[in-house]
């Protein structure tokens, strides 16, 4: 119960938006706390919310709500949200298959070199830990997962790539994540998942919510191909 002293600081962001911050440094409970708070806000009728790491951006209609009202609401909801966050270990665990084979992993050797590890040690390190969704939304379906062990933490590439294939799994600093669609990007690519994370034509908007837990497991190239075949098979 040592975290009961958390307070939200408030910053105006123009006439119809406001930013709430939890104090730095970031704690493991933040994603769930912020997710709970954003749910409360959505029920109160705000236009939109964006959660990232320790911040909660709220967009509202100034004719219907104001900053004081929203602050009051959040401060009332905070103890409950903190309580939920302590129970969060029972929350969603999402397992993601990843093929770490060389054709899908152009930066795997670079990441291994950085940490003085073998390729197999990198894979072991990446798969043994459970990560948490700390931030969403660079593009739909993208989740920033935190945090990888220091030995495989690798800075972004100096030169971003123009095309990163759909499903690519990357590392950027101490974060890891999956490109849900083909995209430009600067993350170090160490594998690829056959699992679809974003497919709006079939109603799949996102696999992740803030605070969800994610674990990767290694699959072979044959298993990868089998996954892809199954996905394409008509239901």
């Amino acid at each position: 119960m040592e975290k009961l002293s958390l307070t939200l600081s408030v910053h105006s962001v123009g006439p119809n938006a406001v930013m709430f911050y939890l104090p730095e440094p970031i704690q493991e409970t933040y994603p769930v706390i912020l997710h709970e708070l954003s749910q409360q806000l959505t029920r109160s009728g705000v236009i939109d919310c964006v959660i990232a790491y320790h911040s909660l951006l709220v967009i509202f209609d100034p004719l219907r709500q104001d900053i004081h009202q929203l602050s009051l609401l959040l401060n009332q909801a905070l103890p409950q949200a903190m309580h939920r966050a302590t129970l969060a270990r029972q929350q969603n665990l999402i397992k993601i298959p990843v093929c770490y084979a060389a054709p899908f992993a152009p930066d795997l050797i670079e990441v291994a070199k950085q940490g003085n590890l073998t390729v197999n040690e990198v894979i072991l390190c990446h798969t043994q830990k459970t990560y948490q969704v700390c931030c969403l939304g660079f593009i739909p379906g993208f989740a920033f997962l935190g945090y990888v062990d220091d030995q495989i933490a690798t800075p972004r590439r100096a030169e971003p790539r123009r095309h990163i294939a759909q499903g690519s799994v990357g590392i950027a600093g101490r974060q890891t994540g999956i490109y849900p669609e083909e995209s430009p990007g600067g993350w170090q690519i160490i594998g690829r998942t056959p699992k679809r994370l974003y497919d709006p034509a079939h109603g799949l908007i996102s696999c992740f919510e803030m605070g969800d837990r994610v674990q990767f497991y290694a699959i072979s190239m044959d298993e990868f191909k089998e996954w892809e075949r199954q996905y394409q098979r008509p239901q």
Partner: protein, 291 residues
């Protein structure tokens, strides 16, 4: 519901927009919606439409449509010398269209300083199936409710002739030659030094690139931020990012939802709309206003 127009020629941007897609920003879905909210609102108002009725946003001009049925339209926004059967249409006014008519939008003349995004509205709105509650297009994310428009496609709606035509009062029209943009201090404003804030309001900024994601500007004296590394946080259209090179980027309707650059303030909707209409090469001045 009937096909009302067939597309004979496309503009560089010819896309459906309503007021935008709200409630999904956290998952990375930009709000989108019209680059020029003022022109969009006027169009729906003079037709007596719902404020959220779907219109066509046209960038730079070059669109040509053939009417397949009688209907009532309105045009607004940037001046693209729209014509109906070679007869000029009055901007910010409604007009009757008869079956077989040819509706054309000319190419933009940037020297006119008369805006670059135009809107075509239909009495009753264009009929488009929404995605996540909105008919707005977000090209960056491959979101095309109603399909990505191409030559030969038809635009559907209710064929109706309104009992009377209307136009907007001259004094209510947006002034696209405006070059002073009001900025509300926000985000990291207080972390910029007084010298940098002063530099921000005491020199002109030239638009070097602009699209539906953002407007890039450059100045003689770049703006610097000494507040240190920031964690990425939620961003919205109108926010003014200051990247390490010191040249501001104003976020527009298709911007992404989070970013890690410091922001010196936010431009409120009417001024963001005016800035969206500024062509590359023109200069604007920023001015801070009280919160």
């Amino acid at each position: 519901m009937t096909d009302l127009f067939m597309i004979e020629k496309l503009a560089p941007i010819t896309q459906y927009q309503d007021l935008g897609r709200f409630g999904h920003l956290s998952h990375g879905f930009s709000h989108s919606g019209p680059m020029d909210n003022i022109a969009f609102a006027i169009n729906n108002r003079i037709l007596g439409n719902d404020p959220n009725a779907t219109q066509i946003e046209i960038a730079m001009g070059g669109l040509q449509l053939r009417a397949l049925a009688d209907c009532t339209i309105a045009i607004s926004g940037g001046y693209l010398a729209a014509k109906l059967n070679a007869q000029p249409l009055v901007n910010f006014c409604s007009a009757y269209v008869k079956k077989g008519d040819l509706l054309t939008f000319n190419f933009l003349d940037p020297k006119l300083h008369a805006g670059q995004y135009a809107y075509l509205a239909l009495a009753g709105g264009f009929n488009v199936t929404p995605f996540l509650g909105s008919t707005s297009t977000t090209q960056r994310l491959n979101i095309f409710p109603g399909g990505e428009l191409k030559i030969g496609d038809c635009l559907a709606g209710f064929p109706q002739l309104k009992p009377e035509l209307q136009g907007e009062l001259r004094r209510n029209l947006p002034y696209y030659a405006n070059d002073i943009i009001e900025v509300v201090p926000a985000y990291q404003y207080s972390l910029f030094s007084d010298k940098e804030k002063q530099a921000f309001i005491s020199q002109p900024f030239r638009v070097t690139a602009t699209n539906r994601m953002g407007t890039k500007l450059s100045a003689q004296q770049p703006i610097h931020y000494a507040g240190g590394e920031l964690l990425s946080e939620g961003i919205i259209p109108g926010a003014i990012q200051i990247p390490p090179d010191g040249h501001p980027i104003v976020l527009q309707k298709d911007a992404q939802s989070i970013g890690g650059y410091p922001k010196i303030g936010i431009i409120s909707e009417p001024f963001r709309s005016l800035l969206a209409q500024v062509s590359v090469g023109r200069e604007v001045w920023f001015k801070f206003i009280e919160k």
